[in-house]
């Protein structure tokens, strides 16, 4: 078995003000995976990523990158990681070609090769025409692409993107997705953080959901969607019942003598359930949706998404 691209055990971070941003998280990302770290604002996504690239010091736990423990072999591990931060962090006054060549230099890549890489990735991200432009003159969308190009000049095995499409317009988002899929297909492991469920759904194979510094779910996208498509209802009956009524094969169980719960696919109709219950003489007086933690979280995620303007950093400069 090959070693994981990333292994995190009981990772903790308490910031200086005492705030516990990570309360002991575990994560495994296999090589070649396309992995989403999904969670609302303030969940601890950027803190986790910050620890992976040494900008944030962990206060507990263990992190291994391709088997290299960051406590002892961070310098080696860093060569394998490409990072696309949430906020622009290049020198606004430098030309974008220089930014890429310089970044390659920091990884010890000889000048000639650094120049080839800079050209390759600027072309791939459609920025080659702008190579002599100062970074501050780029539009928001171009700056995002510059971050991606810069993260790739040393050809990392693990690419980590922190909300790469936040505030990016739909068209650019699609083309970035396409690009990332292609990079992943060629063998680069990708981890991205997002608070768009749609993004995780469209791109990723596996997902961890983080909320308030804890991982609340870690599974494949497929089974996550299955979970999300199920709804659990609690039915209250007028008369006491001793056994669970026949639900036509739907999963369910008795809660007490006046209530039971049933699990129903969101796409299924409730009429069938009622018909069946009426036929058995079970009278339902009330019914409620059993809220689960994950559902609540997603409701809040979805709400956060709809509050956000789709393209806050739209192209300003042609």
């Amino acid at each position: 078995m090959t070693e994981s691209a990333l292994t995190i055990r009981n990772l903790r971070k308490a910031y200086d003000n005492g705030f516990e941003a990570l309360k002991g998280i575990d994560l495994d990302v296999e090589q070649g995976d396309f992995f989403a770290l999904l969670g609302p604002n303030g969940a601890g996504k950027s803190t986790t990523i910050g620890i992976l690239c040494s900008l944030v010091r962990k206060t507990g736990g263990q992190v291994k990158i391709f088997g290299l423990d960051i406590d002892s072999r961070f310098s080696e591990a860093k060569k394998y990681i490409g990072i696309v931060p949430q906020e622009f962090n290049f020198n606004q006054f430098e030309k974008i070609y220089d930014i890429l060549v310089t970044q390659a230099g920091y990884f010890g890549i000889p000048r000639r090769l650094a120049e080839q890489r800079a050209e390759k990735y600027l072309r791939l991200l459609d920025l080659w025409d702008k190579r002599s432009t100062q970074a501050m003159m780029l539009s928001g969308g171009m700056k995002r692409r510059l971050l991606i190009a810069r993260s790739l000049v040393h050809e990392p095995r693990l690419l980590i993107l922190d909300e790469p499409t936040a505030g990016v317009d739909i068209e650019l988002r699609r083309s970035m997705w396409h690009f990332l899929r292609e990079i992943n297909r060629q063998g680069t492991t990708i981890i991205l953080t997002t608070h768009y469920l749609e993004e995780a759904e469209s791109l990723c194979r596996n997902v961890a959901i983080i909320d308030r510094g804890r991982i609340v779910q870690n599974t494949s996208i497929k089974s996550l969607l299955k979970t999300l498509n199920r709804e659990v209802f609690i039915f209250d009956t007028r008369d006491a019942i001793e056994t669970l009524p026949d639900l036509g094969g739907l999963p369910g169980h008795l809660l007490d003598e006046h209530s039971f719960e049933v699990e129903i696919q969101k796409s299924d109709s409730l009429n069938g359930v009622f018909d069946r219950l009426s036929r058995q003489g079970v009278e339902i007086v009330s019914m409620r949706n059993k809220a689960n933690r994950l559902e609540e979280l997603f409701v809040s995620l979805v709400r956060a998404n709809s509050d956000e303007p789709a393209a806050e950093e739209n192209e300003e400069v042609a």
Partner: protein, 257 residues
Amino acid sequence: MSGTEKWIAFITIIVREVRRFLRIWPQTLLPPAITITLYFVIFGTLIGPRIGPMAGFNYIEFVAPGLIMLSVITNSYGNVVSSFYGAKFGKSVEELLVSPVPNYIILTGFVMGGVARGLGVGVIVTLLSLFFTRLNVEHIVVTCSVVFLTSVLFSLAGFINAVFARSFDDISIIPSFVLTPLTYLGGIFYSIDMLPGLWEGVSRANPILYMINAFRFGVLGVSDIDVGWAFLMIGLFIVGLYAYSMYLLVNSKGLRS
């Protein structure tokens, strides 16, 4: 990183630093050239002849080495403090922090950037001074090593200032309130022999005095103080500031939270 990779990273930092101060030359190279020319015109040509000889030299010859050192000191310091603070403020320092470059390479890279500007400006003002006076260097090795080490020292000091700075104001406090006064009182314009006993003693506590005098010794062959002492002191300062800078790079919350 292998030795070659570290070397490439080191050169990359220096190239970026040099490119930065060349890009903004009207803020980095031009002001010292104008200032020094004014000094030479005022103290050399206009007032100098009325002051008469100092330590056996024309006044302008006496002040020229100190003025050159003044430029080297302020520019070395100024380069590192503004470049590193700017990188911290604009977050581009993260490009370095996420890369495998070891801390000592980051530090020496920035310091050599400061030295490049300090010495670059030193050469410019030296050439300008030749329009006003002759400079025949007495001890070339002393001259070059003093100017180089002084430049390293103040680049390190600028680095420390930048790590602590939280605003653009913070990067001008030390230059205005510490560096400039110490330099002016460091015997640029006078020989400390001229001071009354108490003030001569106080002046001897000023580290910049040693650097200026050592440099003057290199150029003119005269000094108020022992040049060996000057080297020892500069060396000790460099070691202390280097160690402290490294400590900050590893531990500063301003760089890694």
